[in-house]
């Protein structure tokens, strides 16, 4: 393998890792506060790409407006899903909520098929992201810098919200214990809604950049990136935001490198994440950065 190809693969790995990280944060935040695998998160991601697609291609909005609109709409969608499908089951057994989440995920994927059509659509890519940049003899498009940079900026903002604001404090308190948080004057339902809004908005950013990177979107694209990103979140330690980012990068990098270094195993790429998940859960069930959890009787 030449140096150029290696550098190209590293760039690919970082980009895919950033996208996985953005999605994994949504999983880890929801799991942290509700103890639920939000199966619908992958579909939220899928729908966000369609919001952006319709904004740019159908309503012919300038891409800046369309993308921001898509992010806002997706955040709203996340809040609505929580209110409609998870909140009524707040006190139900966890399995009921899980089934509800699987149901929402399926409903959205199939509604997507009905509304958007099964044929893949071509995502509009503003030329500014396609400007070639030469760096150390390697030619890459600007997008490869935009994605990690934007991810980093969003992480800083997220960190500020979660650790420096009152809202973040409320979210962390709700994560700890609903009843105690309520006694301390925290509006738990509001904290959960905000968690879903932030997670979905990040998924939308990930979705738009996914569209910019891979150019093709279809209604079934949510399920597998979604599951992989949940795995990334588990990998890093569920409930822990830095863990999700770390997990996302390791998974994205690992997948690209598996295909680059061992092309014979390329067909197993989709199984890679699951094999990693099972190994991690067996060896270190709380993930790389997770806390030890005890079951109280």
């Amino acid at each position: 393998m030449t140096v150029e190809i290696l550098l190209q693969n590293i760039a690919n790995g970082i980009t895919l890792g950033s996208l996985y990280a953005l999605l994994a944060i949504g999983y880890t935040m929801v799991y942290g506060i509700l103890g639920l695998i939000n199966f619908a998160h992958g579909e939220i991601f899928m729908v966000s790409t369609y919001f952006a697609f319709y904004g740019t291609a159908v309503f012919a909005l300038p891409w800046q407006v369309a993308f921001v609109l898509a992010i806002v709409l997706t955040a709203l969608l996340g809040v609505v899903i929580e209110r409609a499908a998870y909140r009524p089951l707040r006190d139900a057994p966890r399995i009921s909520v899980l089934i509800s989440a699987i149901g929402v995920s399926f409903l959205m994927a199939n509604l997507g098929l009905v509304i958007f059509g099964g044929r893949p659509k071509t995502f509009y890519r503003p030329p500014i992201f396609q400007t070639p940049i030469e760096l150390g003899g390697v030619k890459v498009v600007a997008l490869f810098f935009v994605i990690p940079l934007l991810t980093a900026i969003l992480l800083v903002i997220l960190n500020y919200i979660v650790y420096r604001t009152k809202t973040g404090l409320a979210m962390r308190a709700a994560q700890w214990d609903f009843d105690t948080a309520r006694l301390m004057g925290v509006d738990v339902d509001r904290a959960i809604s905000i968690t879903f809004a932030i997670g979905s908005a990040l998924a939308a950013v990930g979705g738009i950049m996914w569209g910019l990177r891979f150019a093709e979107i279809n209604p079934n694209m949510g399920l597998f990136p979604g599951l992989k990103c949940f795995i990334a979140a588990v990998f890093g330690g569920i409930g822990n935001i830095s863990g999700a980012v770390l997990g996302g990068f390791i998974l994205g990098f690992g997948e690209i490198m598996l295909v680059a270094l061992l092309p014979g195993l390329a067909g197993y790429r989709d199984a890679f994440a699951f094999i990693v998940l099972i190994l991690i859960l067996l060896v270190r069930p709380t993930g790389l950065l997770g806390d030890k959890q005890r079951v109280k009787i």
Binding site: I37, I95, L227, P285
Partner: protein, 358 residues
């Protein structure tokens, strides 16, 4: 009195046997004389009853929420198909890479092939279950889903055995009503016996409270593992019957939507109810076919309606959401319909009627 007490169980057994013989005679006759489309749907009903019961054994009765059923169905379907296909057909189907040695020259009967499917999927079930059942709740769900996905990816990639993404064609159509409903009845009988045994009660104890069950001396690992393996075996044989019914299989058939369909049947019927499962499996299978109408273009009252692909699953997802949000226990919960209950219900009805008259 003494003669009557001996006679009664004998009469009961005789009645059950007679009913079974009549039932199978009807199925055997129906296979030839009923409409081919109806027979196909009835076959699917029988197969889905068995598979859904298997899922319910693990997810409903034992409370171990597994999402790996499609993977075990794939194992069973491929095992049965590879063992029953004629060597000449295999040669024609495997045109990219030939099938490896012992498999390319053998052809078994349907029954031993199904037994082998049970054995192989049971072994795979154990290999998956033994590590996976250490996890609880959502983690178990995602791990088993991961295993099912790994099975599918492996099947797509080991071309010399599975023919890869092209799948298998020309599987002999052995499955008929006697096979599918026979297996469904066997599964119903196994489940009914199991749930009355101490093993079944131990499973329910695990579902209700693992720690309390363990304190009562229930071996968590062996009980969960056995439930998991039995569930995998039912799915495996069901997959085998399905493969030999539709005669073509490929790895993409066994993706998550298949698990979702079976899970939906179990949830709608009530996780933890055998009769609920049977009713719901039949209803959903029939509805799946009936709702195909939604996806085909048709003319209603002079209005040309275009077919909407994907609409079927939208309807089913909405049904699932409504059930889980408003009737979280499904339409049977963990209750059962049995002859005794029906008798008791009838006597109570009579009594209220007579008391009203008096």
């Amino acid at each position: 009195m003494a003669g009557k007490s001996i006679l009664k169980p004998i009469l009961k057994i005789a009645a059950v046997c007679a009913a079974l013989v009549l039932f199978f005679l009807l199925l055997w006759w129906g296979q030839e004389h009923w409409d081919a489309y109806a027979v196909r749907i009835l076959n699917l009903c029988g197969i889905y009853i068995a598979i859904t019961l298997g899922l319910n054994l693990c997810n409903g009765f034992t409370g171990q929420f597994s999402l790996g059923i499609a993977g075990f169905m794939a194992v069973g379907a491929y095992t049965t198909a590879l063992l029953t296909m004629a060597p000449e057909i295999k040669q024609a189907v495997y045109f990219i890479e030939p099938l490896i040695y012992p498999l390319n020259s053998i052809q078994w009967g349907f029954f031993p092939a199904l037994l082998m499917a049970a054995v192989v999927s049971g072994i795979v079930g154990f290999l998956v279950g033994a590590p996976a059942i250490r996890f609880r709740g959502d983690y178990l769900a995602i791990t088993t889903l991961g295993f099912a996905e790994i099975i599918r990816v492996v099947f797509t990639n080991i071309v010399p055995i599975t023919n890869g993404a092209l799948g298998l064609k020309g599987i002999p159509p052995h499955t008929d009503l006697v096979w599918s409903w026979g297996f469904a009845l066997i599964c119903i009988a196994i489940m009914a016996r199991l749930m009355k045994s101490s093993f079944g009660r131990a499973l329910k104890a695990i579902r209700d409270d693992e720690i309390a069950a363990e304190a009562m001396g229930v071996n968590l690992f062996s009980h969960k593992c056995l439930a998991f393996v039995l569930s995998a075996m039912m799915a495996g044989v069901g997959g085998g019957l399905l493969g030999n019914l539709i005669t073509t299989i490929d790895p993409n058939m066994f993706r998550f939507p298949l698990t979702f369909t079976v899970l939906m049947m179990a949830v709608l019927g009530g996780l933890g109810s055998i009769t609920g499962t049977v009713i719901s499996a039949v209803l959903v299978t029939v509805a799946m076919e009936a709702l195909r109408a939604l996806e085909e273009p048709r003319v209603i009252f002079g209005l040309a309606l275009p077919g909407i692909p994907g609409m079927r699953m939208v309807v089913f997802s909405i049904a699932l959401m409504i059930v889980i949000l408003f009737f979280p226990k499904g339409f049977m919960g963990d209750r059962e319909i049995s002859l005794d209950r029906a008798k008791r219900f009838a006597t109570r009805l009579c009594r209220t009627n007579t008391s009203r008259q008096g």
